[in-house]
């Protein structure tokens, strides 16, 4: 047992303990804070598993935007904390036994994984030079499995439409009900004036460097969304109404351009989302740039929630 394995053991034990505490905590906000800590620890675990792109995504989305979303919901529901009765003991025991069985089955799967492990890494690396990218994960996301990425973006948009559809009829097309920090507070305004320029630079850098180093459109887009949400929370900008043209344009420009590049593949390279040789990298970078912008706006609006006040005409 060397030092690295001892560190991994401590990290894994901490991860499971905090996950268990998240489930068993009594207060909602305490459970969400524990979930946030779990997300950041999970980012470290991803680095230990040599998956730095996934670590960036987990820290940004899992430990960042999800926790913000849940905290907003928890503060809205604060008056219902003590309402639900705890579950009965028989339910707890049977559920516990069945979940322990599921965990044991999955642990057995991990134990009996085939050795040597099957892998697609040589195939991925062999064709990476043609795409002009240096980051194999970006190659998988935008060249080998580009259809998955396109559909993922469409799923984000569908979730946004689903969230919007939960508005009341009279508030349709109005302003999302993001609870901004209503008190005039110089500290939060100071943060929202100083951090977004740095954050926007970091977000664009993460997208740009994602072609050859760990990074990418999703990670950069999430940082951009976080900066936008910070500015909205500090009331330096009004939360935009969802029927405004520029909001809708920014939302769809990413997927529309991606689909257009896909159909271009029909014309010049005889398959959907196939890239013509030599033009792969510029096309991928253009698609990623607009995708980053769209992802930033989509994630920000997903956190902002359904419209609640009618747009003032």
């Amino acid at each position: 047992m060397n030092v690295a394995l001892a560190f991994d053991l401590g990290l894994a034990a901490l991860l499971v303990a905090i996950a268990g505490w998240t489930i068993a905590a009594r207060a909602n906000i305490g459970a969400i804070v524990l979930f946030m800590v779990d997300g950041l620890l999970l980012a470290i675990v991803w680095v230990r598993l040599s998956a730095v792109d996934v670590a960036l995504t987990e820290a940004a989305i899992g430990g960042g935007v999800t926790s913000m979303l849940l905290l907003g919901a928890a503060t809205r529901l604060k008056d219902t904390e003590s309402n639900p009765e705890p579950a009965k003991l028989t339910l707890l025991l049977t559920a516990g036994a069945l979940c322990a069985l599921v965990s044991a089955g999955l642990a057995a799967v991990v134990f009996f994984l085939p050795d040597p492990a099957p892998t697609l890494a040589p195939v991925a690396m062999a064709n990476l030079a043609e795409t002009g990218l240096g980051n194999p994960v970006a190659g998988v996301l935008f060249a080998y499995r580009a259809l998955d990425t396109l559909l993922e973006k469409v799923v984000l948009l569908l979730a946004l439409v689903g969230v919007w559809s939960l508005a009341r009829d009279e508030a349709w097309g109005g302003v999302p009900g993001l609870r901004v920090y209503a008190r005039p507070n110089t500290i939060l305004v100071f943060l929202a004036q100083l951090l977004p320029p740095i954050g926007i630079m970091v977000g664009i850098y993460m997208f740009w460097a994602g072609a050859s180093q760990p990074g990418g459109a999703f990670q950069g887009g999430t940082v951009l969304a976080a900066m936008w949400l910070l500015v909205l929370l500090a009331r330096l900008q009004q939360v935009p109404a969802i029927s405004l043209p520029w909001v809708r344009l920014l939302l769809v420009i990413g997927p529309v351009l991606f689909v257009a590049i896909g159909f271009l593949g029909f014309l010049v390279a005889d398959a959907f989302l196939a890239y013509p040789p030599g033009y792969a990298k510029p096309l991928i970078v253009i698609a990623e740039a607009t995708l980053t912008l769209s992802i930033g706006v989509t994630l920000g609006l997903l956190v902002a929630g359904p419209p609640e006040t009618r747009l003032q005409q």
């Binding site: 507070n185 500290i187 939060l188 100071f190 943060l191 100083l194 951090l195 740095i198």
Partner: protein, 97 residues
């Protein structure tokens, strides 16, 4: 020279780790929110700073060193702002009781 730099890294990172432990002890043992925030911001500033300074001999190139120092500055900045916000919220909750 390499050995001296490695020893410096070990000493600085261990000192930073000790400060983190002290901050955690403060978080667990101090009586109320304001004193706990004080313990945590000490950790943010000096503990993270020692770790960053200790890691500087290990990075390759001045650009990577600049990135690591920027991480420290951003950590200090956000820690200070968030401590202020939490302290104001705690003071307000105290007054309402």
């Amino acid at each position: 020279m390499r050995l001296a730099l490695d020893i410096f890294t070990l000493v600085a990172v261990s000192a930073g780790g000790l400060l983190f432990m002290a901050g955690t002890a403060g978080l667990l043992r101090f009586p109320d929110t304001l004193t706990r925030l004080h313990a945590l911001t000490k950790v943010d500033n000096l503990g993270l700073g020692l770790i960053v300074v200790g890691l500087l001999p290990q990075v390759d190139g001045p650009l990577a060193a600049l990135k690591v120092v920027t991480v420290w500055l951003l950590g200090q900045f956000s820690g200070a702002i968030v401590s202020q916000l939490i302290a104001r919220a705690a003071r307000r909750a105290e007054h309402q009781q």
